[in-house]
Assembly symmetry: none
Homo-oligomer: 517 residues x 2
């Protein structure tokens, strides 16, 4: 079975709340989609905005390996000759080898939204498809609202498809525009519809019922050979069918060779790269490509996965360019700990007494609210301290931080610190935007003299979570600090009812981690 992949990230995906692609963004994404092995790239709707016209001009300069560029448009307007319709003229001016033309297939939309007759709508479909065919285009007919229309007036919905087929459309793409269809409903409709047409059928699903990917898989199972979707499922409201899930499902589960093995291996990278361009965070839990998609937290899972990955992994993560991760948590058992320690270059035996003691400490700390998934450097330090593999590079004698505010003026913060480093007592002071910043400032002033490598350490992220917020201002807080130097980054954690104390713990660990590296 052969499938064509049609990406509409640049058109339907651009409707996502929060996305605003520049022409340059669109060209970058076009290149990535081509590298991923996408067959059709829908670049935009030239009739709807000038940015898309610019894109279609610029994209001609790209040397693509395989992908064909597609321009999108509605059918001609009611009561207008197709050759006089501006929108259609702009569509052809985009000079793409392929056009996608969407036409209404739900009688209610025709009479109430378009305010025209059912027959005129059929003529609009026919005229527009014929005109594009006569201009030498490959034509994808997007049957808008097909599933809803077919439910309400099946006869008319079928007539719309027939009009497009008779006019020479190359693909009849069934759209679930409102995203309300479930898999078994799609199955029933496609099984009924398919026998009426010789033209290949396609599927364009939305995710409003969280079924976009599944509906797409079902449609292919029922014989649709053309698949539309977007990278990361971008799209209006709840998004479109997510190609980052559809592609591996087709290739690895259904055995359809829609991209090469090599292209599939780039899936995770390309998903993240497009998210980067879109400037949207990617969910860690996104199937196949998310950071946590193959992470294991439960102790039982970890010990089984270590022996046989297939016990708790539906595919091999490396096939889609992702990787297995084991995370540390209270639910983890000895297996996690031994596995992790090995990662840190520490060999320990499952039945060693210090392992039992470590598990006890770990459980106690997690009960207090420590969380090592994001603060793994603190965990590594904890393990190495408990096993006496490292000694602290500096010790606190004392610190004082003073916050003062007068009337409406901003708060002034000052920190004083005394440390013991290599047997010497050292003092310093710092100022800052807040108590933690002042403490950071003072601490660095002392330490950087003795450990110049700490100058490379940048704090790149600082998070505060209140743990038991019912306690009001006496709540316990967890502070997570992300740090990085030129070669890598690491996370540390601290917990206390005092945000300054929690930050202090995470700061100390951040610097200590750098010093043992």
């Amino acid at each position: 079975m052969s499938i064509t992949l049609f990406d509409t990230t640049l058109r339907d995906g651009a409707q996502t709340e929060g996305i605003s692609f520049t022409v340059e963004d669109k060209l970058k994404i076009t290149r990535l989609l081509d590298e991923l092995g996408i067959h059709y790239i829908e670049g935009g709707w030239p009739g709807s905005n000038p940015k898309d016209i610019e894109y279609f001009k610029a994209v001609k300069g790209l040397k693509l390996k395989k992908a064909k560029i597609v321009a999108f448009s509605s059918t001609r307007r009611p009561k207008v000759k197709v050759q006089d319709d501006k929108n259609i003229a702009t569509l052809l001016e985009a000079q793409t080898p392929v056009v996608a033309i969407f036409g209404k297939c739900w009688d209610f939309h025709v009479t109430e939204a378009l305010k025209t007759t059912l027959n005129e709508n059929l003529a609009m479909i026919k005229d527009t498809v014929s005109y594009a065919k006569a201009a030498g285009k490959e034509v994808v007919f997007d049957a808008e609202h097909f599933f809803d229309g077919y439910k309400k007036n099946p006869e008319y919905a079928l007539k719309c498809l027939k009009a497009a087929e008779e006019a020479g459309a190359d693909i009849l793409c069934l759209c679930d525009t409102n995203g309300g269809s479930l898999a078994y409903q799609t199955q029933k409709t496609i099984n009924e519809v398919k026998p009426h047409y010789k033209t290949p059928l396609g599927i364009h699903a939305h995710n409003d019922s969280e079924c976009g990917v599944s509906v797409t898989g079902m449609a292919v199972h029922c014989g649709c050979t053309h698949v539309q979707g977007t990278i990361n499922g971008y799209g209006e409201r709840c998004g479109n069918a997510n190609l980052c899930s559809v592609i591996p499902i087709l290739k690895l589960n259904a055995g359809i060779n829609c991209v090469t093995d090599k292209q599939l291996k780039r899936l995770t990278e390309i998903s993240h790269h497009v998210a980067e361009i879109a400037n949207l965070p990617l969910s860690a839990h996104q199937p196949f490509v998310g950071r946590s998609a193959f992470s294991h937290k439960g102790g039982i899972h970890v010990s089984a996965v270590a022996k046989y990955p297939e016990t708790y992994e539906h595919i091999k993560p490396e096939l889609v360019g992702n990787e297995r991760r084991v995370t540390v948590s209270e639910l983890s058992g000895i297996s996690n700990l031994v596995y992790k320690a090995k990662d840190y270059g520490v060999e320990i035996k499952k039945d060693a007494p210090e392992v039992k003691e470590l598990i006890r400490i770990l459980k106690e700390l997690e009960h207090q609210g420590y969380q090592f998934e994001e603060g793994e450097a603190s965990f590594e330090l904890l393990v190495k301290r408990a096993l006496k593999k490292i000694k602290p590079h500096f010790e606190l004698v004392d610190f004082k931080i003073q916050n003062s505010k007068e009337g409406d003026l901003p708060t002034f913060v000052e920190a004083q610190i005394k440390l013991k480093v290599k047997g010497q007592i050292l003092e310093s002071r710092g100022e800052g935007d807040g108590p933690v910043n002042a403490l950071d400032d003072a601490l660095r002033a002392v330490l950087e003299k003795h450990f110049p490598e700490l100058e490379q350490v940048k704090l790149t992220d600082y998070k505060v979570r209140v743990l038991d917020s019912q306690a009001g201002t006496a709540s316990k807080v967890r502070v997570i600090i992300e740090s990085s130097d030129e070669s890598c980054s690491w996370g540390t954690v601290g917990v206390s009812t005092n945000v300054t104390e929690a930050s202090w713990q995470a700061l100390v660990d951040s610097f200590e981690y750098k010093l043992i590296k």
Copy 2:
């Protein structure tokens, strides 16, 4: 058709990377699930960690409307008598009316992960289920890896279910533990399996193929009457079937009355509340409950939706407690403001000059990171201050907060404050668990003498969000404080690079709001 909803947010959902529920969190979620109309609430695995044992003790104190609490465990260990198995003893000690017992159904797992014989595994299932039944429990048998096992060795997978049925299991729940099944595969399997059993079947799906919700819908379509899932689809790796999508699909699309109309209307609120407790951001694009789930950006959609919502909405958003959103223009900003002010008992005209000024201030504050959705009392104070409807009850002269730490001892915090109240200068000092707590203490010591009604004010929630976390310890933070007295609760907000300053703003607003009420 009647369906039972089984929520495992507190057990499988707690496996989510980034989630770490306290016992208090779990109790809060339990209450919310009960209000949503969930029939079974799986609270945890008492044999796996002490926190869950604590939860089962505490949950007995809750008065639930309908939900039954479930404790989870594996079957007994191989070659151990069920009455001698510690895990099983702990399970029964949880004293829940229902237990969920998971047993292996995939031959490969039995021989390779459990390292036992196929027959012993059948005995483990039978013994454990019988033992729980004899103890008077309602038993849900979770058939782990059922779909994968059935694919590899259907005969053995069926035997495992039969063992549970013969031992008296009340529900046989088919688990797609690795989340690799697609809707049409689930359909085929359930259609083959169902005729073999009289016991009701259940479905427990994971989302590794982004099909968790769809597979669940399909299973119900094929006759499963028990549905497992989690709020917001929390769960290990890519999560479990998302009940926030499954419930509205069952109720509104499949017409199954699994919750009442009134309960369904609370879906959006409960989804957001659980996300808040989990301290994870909720995707704006999450189906049904996301902020953008019914938002319209495209011009065509907006004008059509204005006339006929069903043109681009698969359900009415208010049915799930969500709302339609259209890209906000400046005009609607003003309309909102006028609407809100009226709520506060302040009549203003759209074209009044102070409205323009208020909009300007508001935009500036939102740009700085203030967010008034959770801090609406601060918004009300802002409006009333700008319109000169209120005057402050007290003014800060100055405060000083000192944090000091010596060696490994806990940090000591002391606050001194000087206020002007009714023309008098008043001083006080306070101590606390952290700088904000100490400030709260000192502030109350002064104010409660002059405004005894402040004694009723309890701070019930305290949240800190880092806004620009790339700035490290110099990041801006937003503090939200929830306060309540005997009759109502209110939220206030403060923003600063200094957490003490931001907390101060929110504290002052909290007290001022009480005083103007």
